[in-house]
Amino acid sequence: MLLLEADGKVLFREAGIATPRGMRFRDAPGGAVLPGVGPWIAKAQVPVGGRGKAGGVRPVATAAELPTILQALLGLRIKGCDTREVLVEEMSGGPEHYLALMVDAAAGGVRLIYSPHGGMDVESQAAHGERGFSEVLPLDAEALEAAAGRMADRVAGTQRAGLLDLCRRLIALFLSRQLMLAEINPLFAQPDGRFVAGDAKVVIDMNTLAAQPVLRGILSDGRALYPDAWRKLSQDFDFVEIDPAGQVGLVTTGAGLSMMLIDELVAQGLTPNNFCDMRTGQMRGSPARLLQIFDWLAAARDVRVVLVNIFAGITDLSEFAQLLVDALRERPGFRLPLVVRLVGNGEAVARDIIVAHPDLGIAFEPDLERAIALTAERLRTVSRKEALDAV
């Protein structure tokens, strides 16, 4: 998962990597005093690339401009992500370099990349010039340190020591926090030979969190900024909001099939609210996960219909159907129309269980295409009823 820039920089500073002085804002500045004398730069904190091109980065010439700029940026939707926080930093300058350590999955190692030409278009640059460096190394501190030495030899004498020191710190951070990516772009070269990280792109591995209290702390303190990751960390399954105005709530299992279902719904003009991989195999006879999902869906403004889709390879569907009934009984206030598509292991008994509870208004349908059609039909019925009620 990609950390917000401001949190990536928290990790950088902890590792002794210099960043511009700055402040984080989640609402109007109040009486906050920005560091230094300006000018500053205000950056929307969203976990997506290309925010500059999307209007999410704005210069702040004087402190008086700050409230207006914050107002413009907070709430700005960039590539489907709402800006919930803005980082305002002292404007940095100097030649822009690039430094990154990343897991290279294809090569099966860690790639160290350096270029003296950083900036906006570095990803599209075919080569990093003759002073650039790119090597795949084993995941091993000694090998990485040695590569850092070879890399630093490419740069001018005044910058060599600063770059080597920075790279060593980045290696230590990458290893200790078990990162997948630590990228600095732009990396500002200072006249005295030191470097300042203008941006931070840090991807953490959600599978390491049990052993990473600092990363857990970042997600926990920033739960409002990382709602999807926080849900996964606190509940141990995946529920990602796809469209806050989505009308179809999804209760599904399996990452690939759940993504595919969302794609198929959208292709048919429906608007799924969420991605969900509830991992039915881990429910162990408890309806807790279903109750949690019902609560999230109940809180979603526009969800009108719920579609449940489980392809049971191992999961016993009769057990799941019973848990579904139990969960609905436990939430008498949650009565959205439910289309339930269950297929596979224990399907016949599951159908009997659902049919035995007609008052819950569940439509059982083992065929996925028909279940999607039924979902669309239920949505139309609910919308018509709402329209009539409004008259």
Binding site: V103, A105, M206, T253, G254, A255, M260, I262, I314
Partner: protein, 289 residues
């Protein structure tokens, strides 16, 4: 080696005394897999359906096993593969979801150095239908046939497999490469094997957004001259950038890992790319193979 596995290949289960291990050892045996024993902790007085050995080395010496399936938790997966490699096994499948990526890098290095084929992690396993199953691919989705299947996702491949079976088709080999970013066998590693595998007459790739495995496969497949009809289904058109979508590997960052890049590369390599389950299954069924 993967394509040479059959119902005679001796297989051990690492973690055979655990809840998962006991259950799936029996289910795999029922399918036809030649389970010869396993490793795990035996509490005194406990009886087990299969011979239990102290470690892989002992199990291999006693049984001649060539393949192993590790039904152990994610934090024990690195150790399990280390043991499998030291014992001289040829294939190891690790099913656990949640193996840290840095662990996966170590596992990959250990397996490569030992000449051990690692399938996983985060996979329901592999199957040569009618012969051998290492994992828990559901029987309703399996039938002997001519389509070579490789998939990052378990559930999505079950759904596709079931539709193929309903249309009278089956699989020549089915390999779940898993949903993690760093893994053992990748799509591209299977291209030459499927191209040479006589029983495979068409290839089906079930991918998803994130990483660049689909692009890598397209490169290799194109270089092989697109030797067989190939089909692909890629999930995640609506995935949210910067957030992992269930699978640790399903993460889009800018153009990296995006759907468009995958579709373009695959189509250039002569692969027919689909975006719905039914159109894919119908297309495969339309051409006699």
């Amino acid at each position: 080696m993967l394509f040479e596995l059959d119902g005679r290949s001796p297989v051990i289960v690492q973690g055979i005394t655990g809840r998962m291990g006991q259950k799936h050892a029996t289910l795999m045996q029922r399918y036809g897999t030649h389970i010869v024993g396993g490793t795990g902790r035996v509490r005194s007085g406990e009886a087990h359906a299969f011979p239990v050995y102290a470690d892989c080395g002992e199990a291999v010496r006693a049984t001649g096993a060539v393949a192993s399936i590790a039904l152990v938790p994610p934090q024990n997966t690195l150790e399990a593969v280390r043991e499998a490699a030291a014992a001289g096994l040829r294939v190891v499948v690790t099913v656990a979801e949640g193996v840290p990526v840095h662990d996966a890098l170590h596992i990959r290095a250990i397996a490569r150095a030992a000449g051990l084929i690692w399938v996983g992690a985060s996979t329901p396993g592999l199957c040569i239908p009618g012969e051998i199953k290492l994992g828990f691919l559901p029987d309703v989705s399996l039938a002997p046939g001519a389509v070579g299947v490789m998939s990052k996702s378990g559930t999505l491949s079950y759904e596709v497999g079931r539709r193929l079976v309903a249309r009278g088709l089956g699989q020549s080999a089915w390999i779940g490469v898993g949903g993690d970013p760093v893994k053992g066998v990748r799509f591209a590693d299977l291209a030459a094997g499927f191209a040479a595998h006589a029983a495979t007459r068409a290839v089906l790739l079930i991918g998803e957004i994130g990483g660049d495995e689909e692009e890598e496969f397209a490169d290799v497949w194109g270089r092989l001259g697109a030797p067989k009809p190939a089909y692909a289904l890629i999930a995640g058109a609506q995935a949210k950038e910067g957030v992992t979508m269930g699978h640790a590997g399903a993460l889009v960052l800018g153009e990296r890992g995006s759907l468009g890049s995958k579709q373009k590369s695959l189509r250039r390599a002569g692969v027919q790319v689909f975006d719905t389950l039914e159109t894919l299954a119908d297309a495969i069924a339309r051409v006699p193979i």
